[in-house]
């Protein structure tokens, strides 16, 4: 019996090999494997065997049957050559066009930054864009007479208070959120604040009245200056997806002490000097420092017990560097030719 099965297998396979037309293949299949086919007949005759043989021969018969079926399917596929009635398919044709939308480059970059910091355990906060003089200046150690107010030309809101003073502003920085966050959450605290800020500046290719910043701060026991620099390096590497060369130098911001500025090796010229970096090979990226004890106190945090760092940077500027954009007006200009590139 077993020999018979193997013999018929060889017979079928030998015949199958010679077939060139699918029609003959079907005939062959019917002849052997069909309901009344020769191979089927043998299978039927298995019932006459005793239990032990039935098991043994049955296993073999099934294996052979599957083998033959596989050969037939393969042959069929080769002979029929794909779908019926299609002689040639241009596989390079595209599918139906699905329109895609685009996120604003600032949204993309801010989102990247948020991800980097949430992965380090920072909260993401927002704050009001129309802010009070108190939070935007006073509580950040910038009293009215402070020369630092020279640095920022501020949009004031035409709504005098009881004493006739203009004490509402379009926030010039995201830093007021530091104070609001300290008051709400206390220490220890780890936050980042993305958001829109405003300066009363004439608009040109490199200045706009409205741009975006990204602020971050961390307050806890024993937070040090070295921690700050380490976190900032981590951030820049995260944004630029590579190790970046930075230099740290003194800077002055009233709400930190000491204040530092972090420059990054120019991404455009690689540090050899070009118009983007004003020929110095370095780009000013981040203003930062250890939070001034007065600012901590304004935020209701015991400056004897806690220390903290803070940093801020222009996301708009960062976007210009990262994507090589040379005109800041494109960001608020709504031109889809620009926006569709992101």
């Amino acid at each position: 019996m077993e020999k018979e099965i193997l013999k018929i297998k060889e017979e079928i396979l030998a015949k199958a090999k010679k077939i060139k037309d699918p029609k003959f293949l079907r005939d062959l299949e019917t002849k052997y494997m069909g309901r009344k086919g020769e191979f089927t007949k043998i299978l039927r005759s298995l019932s006459k065997l005793n239990d032990e043989d039935k098991k043994k021969v049955g296993r073999l018969a099934n294996t052979v049957k599957r083998e033959i079926a596989l050969v037939f399917t393969e042959l069929k596929n080769t002979l029929e050559g794909g779908e019926k009635g299609e002689s040639f398919v241009d596989v390079t044709l595209p599918g139906i066009k699905m329109e895609r939308g685009h996120k604003h480059p600032i949204s993309l970059l801010t989102s990247d930054l948020e991800d980097i910091f949430t992965s380090m355990g920072f909260m993401v906060l927002d704050g009001p864009e129309l802010e009070s003089d108190f939070f935007n200046f006073e509580a950040l150690n910038i009293p009215k007479t402070h020369p630092a107010r020279d640095m920022q030309d501020t949009f004031y809101i035409d709504k005098p208070n009881k004493n006739g003073e203009l004490d509402l502003v379009m926030r010039t920085q995201t830093s007021p959120v530091q104070i609001r966050a300290m008051r709400e959450y206390g220490a220890p605290l780890k936050c980042v604040v993305p958001g829109r800020v405003f300066r009363n500046e004439a608009i040109d290719a490199v200045h706009d009245t409205t741009f975006d910043q990204f602020e971050g701060f961390m307050i806890g026991d024993d937070i040090s200056l070295c921690n700050l620099i380490a976190v900032l390096k981590e951030m820049l590497s995260g944004v630029f997806k590579q190790e970046v060369k930075v230099r740290v130098r003194p800077g002055y911001f009233p709400f930190v002490e000491p204040g530092i500025e972090v420059d990054m090796s120019c991404t455009i010229c690689g540090g050899s000097g070009c118009p983007s970096c004003k020929q110095v090979g370095w780009l000013e990226m981040i203003g930062a420092g250890m939070i001034h004890p007065k600012v901590l106190e304004y935020g209701g945090i015991d400056s004897k017990k806690y220390s903290g760092f803070a940093f801020g940077m222009g996301v708009t500027r960062l976007a210009m560097m990262k994507y090589g954009i040379d005109d800041i007006r494109l960001f608020n200009g709504s031109d889809m030719k620009f926006l569709k590139q992101f």
């Binding site: 329109e99 895609r100 939308g101 604003h104 600032i106 949204s107 949430t118 355990g121 909260m123 993401v124 906060l125 927002d126 009001p128 864009e129 129309l130 802010e131 009070s132 108190f134 939070f135 006073e138 020369p147 020279d150 949009f155 004031y156 809101i157 035409d158 509402l168 379009m170 220890p188 780890k190 829109r196 009363n200 009245t209 409205t210 961390m218 806890g220 937070i223 040090s224 200056l225 070295c226 921690n227 380490a230 981590e234 740290v248 003194p250 800077g251 002055y252 009233p254 002490e257 000491p258 250890m290 004890p293 304004y298 220390s307 608020n332 709504s334 889809m336 030719k337 926006l339 569709k340």
Partner: protein, 824 residues
């Protein structure tokens, strides 16, 4: 501010190996930001000395001449307009390719038909003065010599970013900078450096006391110190070359010896000086001298004065004045008066070296829009002790420049001030912890003492801890340094931030609190951009009158800017739609279908819920974030359907069930017939509007635009209310679906029909509209609606059961809406 390397050399013995670029870098890394390092000679590149061989008249122009010039390597013709050139003169010649300080590039040209191969230069053209009366005539030079070599200009200039020294009153002169350089280069201060701090006025005694000066200060808060001294036998003339050269190098125009000395001292030490002509301010005069009575006081109401720049200025009561007892003779620290200044005939001067309050000077200079070299320095809170050093130095210089000059009065010195010189005390351990790096004790002491701090480190008996005690030098004590963090900065910056070991903070890790609003914003951004192919824009938060007027928006209650810089940006937006119309217009010429969105803030003129300050009584104006979607296409129906589809897909993706509701009145700019509100759970969360024809024409909008605005806060509240998703058991029994199509009057609202069907029977589980048709076939004023009605129950429904319900439903629709059922 410019720093001259040559000037710094007075106080710093530079090692030979240090080149100017390295010094610039080191200044940036330790002290101040240096914007550029300029070699003076580079300014005069391709300018050489030439000898005029011959001068002839230009054939075609009466006022021009042609000079034949020998520059050594060649002889050339140059057309020149100045009348003062003669054969045999030595003159500066700008060769082809030279770029003059004013940016002019010398090119070969034909002037009135005659070739010109360069330019003969006047003083002003090469930045050496104001003279434009003629070409500079030079002496003792060699033909072909570089002009910079001829001038012996070998200085290097460092341009300091003034912003980086707003907190450093001590760095507004070369001496202060030299202290920094000596510290970070770790050099031993030279003799001329150490001599400065010992300068005083003890030895300045009248050689002939013919003038009595009395200075009265009304308010010592505004003027902590006023020093004055009379010097007679002055001869006003030009300063010697070495002073002029230094002043020009750092960008100050030389005027005459006395004024130049004042400027020199200011740039040297940082202390602004002023000189009055005794004759104009004397309160009493006699043959030999007389009396001067200075009063430092605030201006009276309506007081006026003519300042040096020949402007008649109306003073306000906050203006601090120097007066001669009667009339104002200077706006203190800002600008002198026209009536009292030095002139060519001045013989006796009253030299002022004073200190003024930083805030007062700032206010005054802002009020007059006058930011002088002097006011810039006083604004930074100068050290009152500097007055004395500067006065001594000025006297020294004047004596050198005018050997005949005689001290004609005692030094008048009226002062009242106190400085907080510490000590600042902290544990050495704190410093290491705060910086995060172990800096050796000796190094700390060295850094601080070189900067002029007094340092002492002692072991405390009980705790065995090292305690640092730091005395602040006067020049850092006015404002700059007062707390231990300030001291930490001094140590860290001189040590070098780049020399620190950076280390990530050691903190407990934990999942941060989620900002739900921010997460929602992000999700909406994802959905609208990825799912609905919309493009995100950022528009300004500002709007302008003209735009709002065209849109018929009442802006009387809009929040206004007090100091707008553009007519289009005078108020704060109360919605995103106005600027969004502008965004469509930016793109309408080039894009066929426009789908834009924005997520941004609006600002309302009523109290919000955020505190305005730490008192908690007042609130900030209400602000919230909105989502705005705009769809603009050529055909209204397409735009409307697409906009609704996008909003639908957005809200459904956020797992909301929503309705469009008709409104009685929509916004003024919207088409009233087609505007609708969007409702979720009985709460209106936004609106969808078509820009009206009227507004379209007024603003120049070419497309049919649908604009939809949603409140992010309301969506957020609804998400909170909804809570987390819950799995519902999959229904065990099969659904039966019946289609239902009927014609109704077009005014019958879909919402009502849908609700009727939905609520008709408990077995009706879903009602899906799948077709709307309007057309002549079914009669004008009608519409055909087609629904899938899904029946399902807690058992297997039979076809017969459903048919019975469906029949009753049809009957109800016929009764309530006069619906005419169409058969399938």
């Amino acid at each position: 501010m410019y720093l001259s390397l040559d000037w710094l050399r007075d106080y710093v013995d530079f090692p030979k190996s240090l080149n100017p670029e390295d010094l610039g870098d080191k200044l940036t890394m330790h002290t101040v930001e240096i914007d550029s390092v300029e070699k003076q000679a580079e300014k005069f590149e391709r300018i050489v000395l030439g000898k005029i061989l011959a001068v002839k008249q230009h054939p075609n122009a009466e006022r021009l001449q042609i000079a034949k010039v020998d520059i050594g390597s060649e002889k050339m013709d140059i057309v020149c307009g100045a009348p003062n050139i003669k054969q045999g003169q030595l003159v500066p010649v700008a060769l082809l390719g030279a770029v003059l300080p004013n940016g002019m590039e010398i090119k070969q040209t034909k002037i009135r038909g005659e070739e010109s191969n360069g330019m003969l230069c006047a003083e002003d053209e090469i930045g050496l003065g104001d003279g434009h009366s003629g070409i500079m005539i030079l002496e003792n030079g060699k033909i072909g010599q570089n002009f910079a070599d001829y001038l012996k200009l070998k200085d290097v200039l460092f341009e300091v970013d003034n912003k980086s020294i707003t907190n450093r009153p001590d760095l507004w002169g070369h001496f202060g900078m030299a202290r920094e350089v000596n510290t970070f280069l770790d050099l031993k201060p030279n003799k001329s450096f150490t001599r400065i701090n010992s300068l005083n006025v003890k030895n300045i005694t009248p050689e002939k006391e013919v003038i009595k000066i009395e200075a009265k200060i009304e308010n010592y808060d505004l003027c902590p110190r006023y020093m004055a001294l009379a010097i007679s036998n002055i001869k006003i003339e030009q300063s010697p070359e070495w002073i002029k050269k230094r002043l020009i190098a750092v960008g100050i125009r030389p005027i005459n010896n006395i004024i130049d000395v004042g400027n020199y001292v200011m740039l040297d030490l940082g202390q602004p000086m002023h000189a009055f002509d005794f004759d104009f301010i004397a309160s009493k005069k006699n043959e030999e001298g007389g009396e001067v009575r200075i009063v430092v006081r605030n201006a009276k109401p309506d007081e006026e004065m003519l300042t040096l720049d020949n402007e008649n200025r109306k003073l306000n009561k906050e203006t601090l004045l120097i007066t001669d007892g009667k009339k104002p003779i200077a706006i203190a620290g800002v600008m002198g008066g026209e009536n009292s200044g030095i002139n060519n005939d001045t013989e006796t001067i009253i030299l002022e070296s004073a200190n003024f309050n930083d805030a007062s000077i700032r206010k005054t200079s802002a009020f007059f829009g006058l930011r002088s070299e002097s006011s810039q320095r006083f604004e930074k809170s100068l050290d009152p002790n500097l007055c004395e050093i500067a006065l001594a130095k000025a006297v020294e210089l004047i004596k050198k420049l005018c050997p005949e000059a005689k001290i004609a009065s005692k030094v008048e010195d009226n002062k009242k001030f106190s400085l907080n010189q510490g000590p600042v005390i902290f544990e050495l351990d704190w410093l290491e912890k705060f910086i995060g790096h172990d800096i050796k004790e000796e190094r700390i002491i060295k850094i601080l003492s070189k900067l002029g701090f007094g340092v002492e480190i002692k072991k405390e008996k009980d705790t065995k801890k090292s305690v640092v005690s730091v005395d602040i030098p006067t020049w850092r004590a006015t404002k700059d340094i007062s707390i231990k963090e300030d001291i930490a900065e001094e140590v860290a910056r001189i040590y070098g931030y780049d020399n620190l070991n950076f280390e990530m903070p050691k903190v407990k890790i934990g999942v941060p609190k989620i900002n739900k609003a921010r997460v929602l914003e992000k999700r909406i951004r994802d959905i609208l951009s990825a799912q609905s192919a919309a493009t995100e824009v950022y528009n300004y938060s500002f709007v302008g009158e003209e735009q709002l007027k065209k849109m018929g928006i009442d802006y009387s209650n809009y929040i206004r800017l007090a100091n707008p810089i553009s007519q289009n940006h005078t108020m704060l937006r109360q919605g995103l739609s106005t600027n969004m119309i502008g965004s469509i217009m930016v793109n309408q010429a080039r894009q066929k279908e426009i789908r834009l969105f924005e997520i941004g803030g609006i600002y309302i003129n009523s109290d919000g819920n955020l505190d305005k300050d730490d008192k908690g009584e007042e609130k900030l104006p209400f602000q919230e974030k909105r989502v705005c979607l705009a769809v603009a296409e050529d055909k209204y129906a397409d735009a409307h359907n697409n906009a609704k589809a996008i909003i639908g897909s957005l809200l459904e993706t956020l797992d909301f069930k929503f309705n469009f509701l008709s409104v009685e009145t929509a916004s003024n700019w919207a088409d009233q017939k087609t505007s609708a509100q969007i409702e979720i759970d009985k709460e209106i969360i936004g609106s969808i509007n078509r820009v009206s024809k009227n507004v379209k024409n007024k603003v120049g909008l070419k497309k049919e635009a649908i604009i939809c605005e949603l409140s992010l806060n309301k969506l957020l509240d609804l998400i909170d209310k909804k809570g987390d998703l819950k799995y519902q058991e999959i229904a065990k029994y099969p659904r039966l679906i019946r289609d239902l199509a009927f014609v109704v009057n077009e005014k019958v609202l879909y919402n009502d029909i849908r609700d009727e069907i939905k609520n008709f029977h408990e077995y009706v589980k879903e009602v899906d509209l799948f077709d709307v048709y309007q057309g002549e076939k079914i009669g004008i004023g009608n519409k055909n609606l087609a629904f899938h009605v899904v029946y399902q129950a807690g058992k297997t429904l039979t076809s017969e059961e459903v048919d019975v319900i469906q029949k009753k439903l049809i009957k109800r629709l016929e009764e309530r809406f006069e619906a005419k059922i169409r058969d399938y």
